[in-house]
Each structure stands twice: as structure tokens, then as C-alpha cells.
């Protein structure tokens, strides 16, 4: 049942309340979204991450009602979009623009006329639309391609056109449905910087759906992890990355090495923050315990401007040596988790 809550405070742009989406099928109902509550604030770059099939695409499509939720309420800037009639819905959609994984440009129109399209259907005069389209192409850095056709552009350029087109009706919200998933890493970086720039310059709230951690890490301010149609975890990007609490979060963050942990061995995941990254903890541990320790994997990531290191080590079979290594580590400013091949979640044995 839609929860009757007090009206959201003034700075909430998208308010999702108890949203459920059920697809009826002959083999039984498929629950794509199972009670989603999410408040996205004005000016946020909000990342929604999850594995394929987690429901993230259904969720973003509900935000502009390309899909209609079975239950719940969605308010955009205070207006309930689920009760809107056809005409209001179309007007609302002009304020909630969307870009797609496959760009979805009109292949028989030039770049300029693609950008003009949303203005054309909104009834903006041709001259005015052309002028605005040229400004927008300037913003996305494609002014010289105005008369080209999409077929002549690269993937990154096509997505830039799509972004210019999305901005044509001065939207309040920009929805990005796996917008960089079809692009190479370099192009992805460039598109993400452009989105960040648009967020800063125009103050547009951005919602990003992705299965790529790197995307969230690079530009999102807040993140929600979606798993099995529910929000498993949400919050500030830095906090969620530093301290994933749920299995769903850990599954997303784990490295490939972790999927192949040696069975029957005691393994530890060491998590380093900030300045700890460079301290020779492992060397110290080996000296202190007097036994060799096998390093399974290690990596350092920059999350929201902070360095965060992760290391997987296998403890020696000798129980005394293992104990000495563990007690040395507990004395350090790092988080330690015991992990094994069967259990993804791990047990926290020492929290910094």
C-alpha cells in the first residue's frame, strides 16, 4: 500500500515511495521491484547499481513512467506522476530527460535536427529550436558535426548528441540508463566528465543506472545498491564503499580473485583507508609472525577522492603463526574480515 507520509521537504527532487512492479506471467508473477523507497535530492548525482536482473532498469523507467509501477507513489518535484493524465504526463516527461545505452538517435535526421526533435514536438519555433540546438551542441563539444548524420559518428559522439537532445527542453532531471555501458573506458570517462559538468553548470539532478562500479566511483555523490528488487543499501558513496554492510554490496565490490579463494584455507580481507595505504603492513606482519603469508590479490581504488586499498591474504596452515599474524594486524589501523570460498559476506574480526 502506498504509505501516506508527510509531504517531502523542499529539496527532494524525486521521491519514490513503496514502489512495486509485478509482471504477470503464465509461470507466475515476476516481482521486478519489491517495495522501493528512495529520496533523490536536487542537484544530486545519484547512482543506482546492481547486477543484471536486479530491477534497476525497471526502476529508472518508472521514474518517467515508461513503465508503470503496480503499487506505490513517485513524486517529481512534489507532483505525483502516477496519477497524471496523458497530457500532463507528456509535459512532465519534458522535464525528466533520459539517455540510453544504445543512444536511440533518429538515424534519418542530422545531428542538429536530432537535437531539435524534442523542441519540435514541444511546439518551439523552428528558428528558436535551431538556435538552442546549436548552443547545446557547443556545450557537448560537437558544434562542427551539426550537419552530420548519426551513422557518421562514433559511439561517444552519438552519446553526446543524445545528451544535447536530452537537455533541449531544459529538464530538471536527467536519467541515464546504462549510458556508458556501450562505450570504451576512455570514452566513458569523457562522457562522465560531461555529465558532471552539466550537473555543476546547470544544476540538473542526475540519476545513473549502471552495473559498473567505476561509474559510481567517478561521479556519483550518493548511491543505492539494488538487489532482487529491493534497496539493499544506500547512502553517501564514500561510506558505502568503505563499509559495505550487506552481501549484495560485497558481492558487487569483490574482486575476481575472491571468487576463487582456496578452499579450506583461512583467508583475510584487509581494508586500508587513506594514509594507511602506503604503510608496509604486510611486511610488518610477516616479520612479527615469523611465517610466510600468501597474498592472493591486492588493489587500490580512489573513491570520491579518497584512496582505499583492499588486500586478500591466505594465512599459513601453522595455527600459532596464523594467530601471531592476526594479532599483529589487529594492532594496526585497518579493518579485517575473515572470508572463505563458500561465504561471500565474511566475518568482521577487527574494525578500525
Amino acid at each position: 500500500m502506498p504509505s501516506e507520509r508527510p509531504a517531502p521537504s523542499g529539496n527532494v527532487m524525486i521521491d519514490i515511495q513503496g514502489v512495486k512492479k509485478i509482471y504477470p506471467s503464465q509461470a507466475g508473477d515476476v516481482v521486478a521491484l519489491d517495495g522501493i523507497d528512495l529520496a533523490i535530492h536536487k542537484g544530486d548525482i545519484y547512482g543506482i547499481i546492481g547486477m543484471s536482473g536486479a530491477g534497476k532498469s525497471t526502476l529508472i523507467r518508472c521514474i518517467n513512467r515508461l513503465d508503470s509501477p503496480t503499487e506505490g507513489r513517485i513524486l517529481i518535484d512534489g507532483q505525483n506522476i502516477l496519477t497524471m493524465g496523458d497530457k500532463d504526463l507528456r509535459r512532465m516527461r519534458r522535464t525528466v530527460a533520459m539517455i540510453f545505452q544504445q543512444f536511440n538517435l533518429l538515424m534519418q535526421r542530422t545531428v542538429l535536427r536530432n537535437v531539435c526533435f524534442p523542441m519540435e514536438i514541444a511546439g518551439v519555433s523552428k528558428a528558436q529550436a535551431h538556435k538552442r540546438a546549436k548552443e547545446l551542441l557547443e556545450i557537448v563539444g560537437l558544434a562542427e558535426k551539426a550537419d552530420a548524420y548519426p551513422a557518421q559518428l562514433s559511439g561517444g559522439q552519438r552519446q553526446r548528441v543524445a545528451i544535447a537532445r536530452a537537455l533541449a527542453t531544459d529538464p530538471k532531471v536527467l536519467l541515464c540508463d546504462e549510458a556508458t555501458s556501450a562505450l570504451d573506458p576512455m570514452t566513458t570517462q569523457a562522457i562522465l566528465s560531461l555529465l558532471q559538468d552539466i550537473n555543476k553548470r546547470l544544476g540538473i539532478t542526475i540519476v545513473i543506472i549502471t552495473h559498473e562500479m567505476a561509474v559510481i566511483r567517478q561521479i556519483c555523490t550518493r548511491v543505492a545498491i539494488i538487489d532482487g528488487g529491493r534497496i539493499a543499501e544506500k547512502g553517501n558513496v564514500r561510506e558505502v564503499f568503505a563499509n559495505p554492510r550487506t552481501t549484495a554490496a560485497k558481492r558487487l565490490f569483490r574482486t575476481t580473485a575472491e571468487e576463487e579463494l582456496p578452499p579450506g584455507k583461512r583467508c583475510l580481507r584487509l581494508i586500508f583507508d587513506d594514509n594507511r595505504t602506503y604503510e608496509p603492513v604486510v611486511a610488518g606482519m610477516i616479520l612479527a609472525s615469523g611465517v610466510p603469508v600468501n597474498i592472493l590479490s591486492a588493489n587500490i581504488q580512489t573513491v570520491a577522492g579518497q584512496q582505499r586499498g583492499q588486500m586478500l591474504v591466505e594465512l599459513p596452515d601453522d595455527p600459532e603463526g596464523a594467530e601471531r599474524a592476526l594479532s599483529y594486524l589487529k594492532g594496526k589501523q585497518i579493518s579485517i574480515e575473515e572470508v572463505n570460498a563458500d561465504e561471500l559476506a565474511g566475518t568482521i574480526v577487527h574494525d578500525r
Binding site: 518517467n64 530527460a97 544504445q102 538515424m107 514536438i121
Partner: protein, 220 residues
């Protein structure tokens, strides 16, 4: 019969055939194009899903398409007489030709429109496009190359039917071929008519292929 007489006869037949085919094609598109659009958009999950309309329309088109043209032409004679005032001659033949061709046109249009990527339609919806916008500004322009080549095939088909119409009182080259070439054993006239028809088909197909390529911006 002198060569001059023969030439003027063929010229006359060619003219009749051309305008018969031209108007029949225009009229069958006037009916078939909207029906083709309706066939696509009333499908499940499209922009105007309506299962009853879709299946009734589909069945109706299938029934019309399975009636042999010669039978159809005779069957609609009373209707043709009612509308055109006569059932004989090239002008009157436009009626049965249109009735025979529009179901075919509807299917051709349907096939072309289905080529338009669903993602593109969805993008238009996400920008606040109405159904009318989607049909007129997205579906039809995006499938234009395919619609144009479809039109060339439809026109060729109608040309074939128009020759058949000559057998039962229609005008044009078909009537010439049957009345002189077949009934009066003038194989030479028959041959000339066939050659002219072959050339006509070539010209239609050439125009179709060229213009289809001309309007397609996915290739350049």
C-alpha cells in the same frame, strides 16, 4: 495495320496503363498506409495496443489477399459500376486494382515500420512525444528507405494486375496483348507489349532502388 497505327495503339495502351497504375497505387497507399500503421501500433506492447482491432484487421487483410485477382475483379463489378458509373475501361479498372492492392500495401508498410527500433520510439516517448508525433515524425521518416523500396514492389505488382485486368474489359497494354496478340494471333503485337511491360518494370524498380538509397542516411 500500318506501323504508325501500331505505334499509336501501343502508345495509347502505355498511357492508359501508366495512369491506371499510378492512380491505383496512390489510392491503395491512401488506404493501405494508415492500415499498415494501425497494424503495427495496435500490436501488444506498442504505442496503441489493441488486440481485437489488431486481429480483426489482420484477418480481413489476409482474406482479401487470398482472393485471386481475377475473381475479385469480377466480384466487385457491381460496386465498380456503382462508384465509377461503368465497369469497363481503364478508368473503371482503378477500382478493382485498388481493392486488390491495398491489403498488400498494408502488409508491406507494416513490415517496413516494424524495422524501426523500439528504443528510438521509447526515446521519443521519453521526450513527451504523442502517438501522432511518433507515427509521423519517428516511425515513417525512420523507415522511409524501406517504405520506398516497398512502394516500388507494390507498383510492379499493380502493373502485373493491370495487365490481367485487360482480360475482362480493362484497358491499357494488357487489353492490347489479349485482344490483338492472343485472340487475333498477332504474336508481333504480343511481343512488343511484353517488351514494353518489361521495360516499365525495369524503370519502376530502378527509380525505387535509387530513391531508397537516396533517402537512406544510415549508409553514408
Amino acid at each position: 495495320m500500318s506501323w504508325q497505327e501500331l505505334l499509336s495503339m501501343i502508345g495509347n495502351g502505355l498511357w492508359e496503363t501508366c495512369y491506371m497504375v499510378l492512380f491505383s497505387t496512390l489510392f491503395s497507399y491512401a488506404i493501405g498506409l494508415p492500415l499498415g500503421v494501425l497494424l503495427v501500433i495496435t500490436e501488444r506492447g506498442h504505442i496503441l495496443p489493441n488486440a481485437p482491432v489488431n486481429s480483426v484487421l489482420g484477418t480481413l487483410i489476409n482474406v482479401l489477399r487470398s482472393v485471386p485477382f481475377l475473381i475479385l475483379m469480377i466480384a466487385v463489378i457491381p460496386f465498380t459500376r456503382l462508384v465509377m458509373g461503368t465497369a469497363i475501361g481503364s478508368k473503371a479498372t482503378i477500382m478493382p486494382l485498388t481493392i486488390a492492392a491495398f491489403p498488400y500495401v498494408a502488409r508491406t508498410v507494416e513490415t517496413s515500420l516494424k524495422e524501426v527500433d523500439r528504443g528510438v520510439i521509447e526515446a521519443a516517448q521519453s521526450m513527451g512525444a504523442s502517438r501522432m508525433h511518433i507515427v509521423l515524425k519517428v516511425m515513417i521518416p525512420e523507415s522511409m528507405p524501406s517504405l520506398v523500396s516497398g512502394a516500388a514492389i507494390a507498383t510492379t505488382n499493380i502493373l502485373g494486375y493491370s495487365a490481367m485486368a485487360g482480360a475482362i474489359g480493362g484497358g491499357g497494354l494488357g487489353a492490347l496483348a489479349i485482344n490483338y496478340g492472343y485472340y487475333r494471333y498477332r504474336t508481333d503485337i504480343l511481343l512488343v507489349v511484353v517488351v514494353v511491360l518489361v521495360l516499365l518494370v525495369q524503370v519502376i524498380q530502378l527509380i525505387g532502388t535509387r530513391s531508397s538509397r537516396l533517402v537512406d542516411h544510415r549508409l553514408k
